[in-house]
Symmetry: C2
Subunit: 396 residues, 2 copies
């Protein structure tokens, strides 16, 4: 664990670089300003970091003009927190206010920002807003209708590609945070044989694993799914009161966080003994992962990763399509763009942090999933998770 | 802790009652079907419960027809989990599929459902979708545009009031889950004097409190904010490396969960000693809470709660408007409709679970917040959180 691994937050320089890149992309596309209203995008541009987003009541808006710093248009309850960031222009309203939940303030600020980029008063300018795959509008639909009316003659255009291309490539500072949490979770998985026993319920197993991850230094464990049994077909499952028996498999998949960045990988183990079929299924997904890590070179694509994993799986088993992909981007969210699918074709670029996650059908309608996290370097994949053992581990 | 307090999930009867109520409201408003796509609404109608929603990649849809069970239109990765619920009609697509992220399947299913309620083929029917305050559209805006086109001549209308009126009133089964987590968190707060010490960092204090809540039986602690110091102006703060000193105040506010239901209340304490000013600020918000709990009777309104709290605060201090309200609904989310504000005017009804949360400005730009959780009963407020002490507690 290096010193840089434990530093919290980011220096202003990081945000200046993000804003600069975003503004270059906006200019390339003839867009005059960017509007974001979702947690990761607001945090990406400002550094504003709070679990308060779980309350659905209040919308939060950030405008990135074509030059200069972002402008925050936020509920007054967030002003003190936002003042801790590099943002200077912070405009607030007392929220909740269902009659006007920040929409007048946002409309006026957008018009003010657009004026700086307009030649005549009746010119129609473009405001970028993410509208494409994996994006959501975190404001009431009725308010968005009003906002579009207020903004005329200016219009909203889709800015998904801009936000995606920014967030896909991680800075070294971001990578060090993901690396840190991947290290903690790797330690957590290594401790499972000491934590888990037959006779425990699934719920007790979840509970002790969650506590262990926190004890090891995870800030939080927002995502924890798993299952026990002779096999499982549900890989996004919450725990039950099922009692663990000899011969059971256990699978845990966790997205844990450090300083707002996620790990996302799973591990499979067996209690006391296992079947040849389970061993074989495990080894196939292990090999598929290995094959993908070998071709994770800049210039190859996410579809190349998908193809090599698919080849290994199909050569030895039956591919499962229910998950829909063999891994994805990773960072401020437990899954991010891009996806490792047949048609995604995103070109792997230095600094991308990805998961590879092959899965196959086996046994009585079961699924076996294997997952690792890595960063794309000039010479290929640098693992962030500690590579799983080639053979299915037995807990005695 | 009663037996019913520890039972997980809900019997089918609970979901039948929810669907029935929703369908009655739809019929009253001349709406032919309800479409929901957000986690609490999908869970409310189906029982589908997974942290997988944190991945922004895949949309999830549930249609409630005018009669019969809900229909799930979901990514195939969720099929096994959804099969565990009372839903029978489950339609899936292999996701991610950016070219058609479930939109054709959803459009066709909606048209099929509407056909059952239509007299002629060109009749324009209404599909309810929450579009108002505190609602979000959890699907890409571009996909929603396509969906509206596909659905013509049928149209989407705002169903916020329907969803709000359903979720505001909790069943006894829901109340027992909220009561359970409020009990756990009350115990957690009671243990703070043993957990915290001067010399600890704020981060260490957060960490040990989070662990304690899990040890006491919380499923998770998704929401934890707090601060230490002579006072604080940021009440949605994440921890820093600040070292706790004698004379400091500490405030923790947590939304912890049990079986998918939240508590949401805070506590303030002081280390070793405190000032008369801090003591007085604490007592005023305590008294404002007490006044609100006394008028939390069926037939009174959220605005009555706001008024009595405001009167106590204004009589003795300076009201703070940055938070925008003095409490809110509580249940599947850490904050829910309604809000205790001047104009909200929601009529208190038996079974509503609410927080009262007065706050005031004091000292050098500081805020003092106090919060309790309760359910509205025929004879008034039944506390779910263990009432805080009238005097600011000192940790020695």
């Amino acid at each position: 664990m290096t010193e840089s691994n434990t530093r919290r937050g980011f220096p202003v320089e990081e945000f200046e670089q993000r804003a600069q890149k975003a503004q270059d992309l906006l200019r390339d596309k003839g867009i005059s300003a960017l509007l974001v209203c979702t947690e990761p995008e607001v945090r990406y541009l400002t550094g504003f970091h709070t679990p308060f987003w779980q309350s659905p009541t209040r919308p939060w808006f950030v405008i990135l003009p074509i030059s200069g710093k972002p402008i925050a248009i936020i509920p007054s309850i967030g002003e003190t927190s936002m003042r801790e960031t590099w943002v200077e222009d912070i405009r607030t309203w007392s929220s909740p206010n269902p009659v006007d939940e920040g929409i007048s303030l946002l409309s006026n600020t957008l018009k003010e920002v657009l004026k700086l980029d307009s030649k005549t008063s009746d010119q129609s300018l473009k405001v970028g807003l993410p509208m494409g795959n994996e994006t959501h509008l975190r404001m009431p639909l009725n308010d968005f209708e009003q906002l579009m009316k207020n903004l005329q003659p200016h219009v909203f255009v889709d800015a998904t590609e801009i936000v995606k291309s920014l967030r896909c490539i991680k800075s070294e500072r971001e990578i060090s945070k993901i690396s840190k949490i991947c290290g903690i979770v790797s330690e957590g998985f290594a401790s499972l044989p000491n934590l888990l026993n037959i006779g425990m319920t699934e719920r007790e197993a979840f509970h002790s694993f969650r506590l262990k991850l926190l004890e090891l230094g995870a800030d939080d464990v927002p995502y924890l799914v798993g299952a026990t049994g002779p096999g499982f077909s549900d890989i996004i499952k919450q725990p039950s009161d099922r009692i663990i028996e000899p011969g059971d498999l256990v699978m845990f998949d966790t997205g844990s966080t450090y300083d707002g960045y996620f790990s996302d990988f799973d591990r499979n183990m067996a209690f006391h003994f296992t079947t040849d079929e389970a061993k074989s299924a495990y080894e196939i997904v292990w090999k598929a992962t290995e094959a993908a890590l070998k071709v994770a070179l800049p210039g190859n694509t996410t579809s190349d990763l998908w193809k090599v994993m698919g080849s290994v799986l199909e050569a030895e088993s039956e591919r499962n399509d229910s998950v829909g992909r063999f891994g994805h981007g990773l960072g401020m969210q437990v899954t991010e763009w891009p996806s490792n699918t047949r048609n995604d074709e995103t070109v792997l670029t230095e600094g991308m942090v990805l998961t590879v996650e092959p899965n196959l059908s086996w046994g009585d309608g079961y699924i076996m999933v294997h997952e690792e996290n890595f960063v794309v370097r000039s010479d290929g994949a640098e693992l962030l998770s500690k590579r799983a053992s080639q053979e299915l581990e037995i807990i005695n």
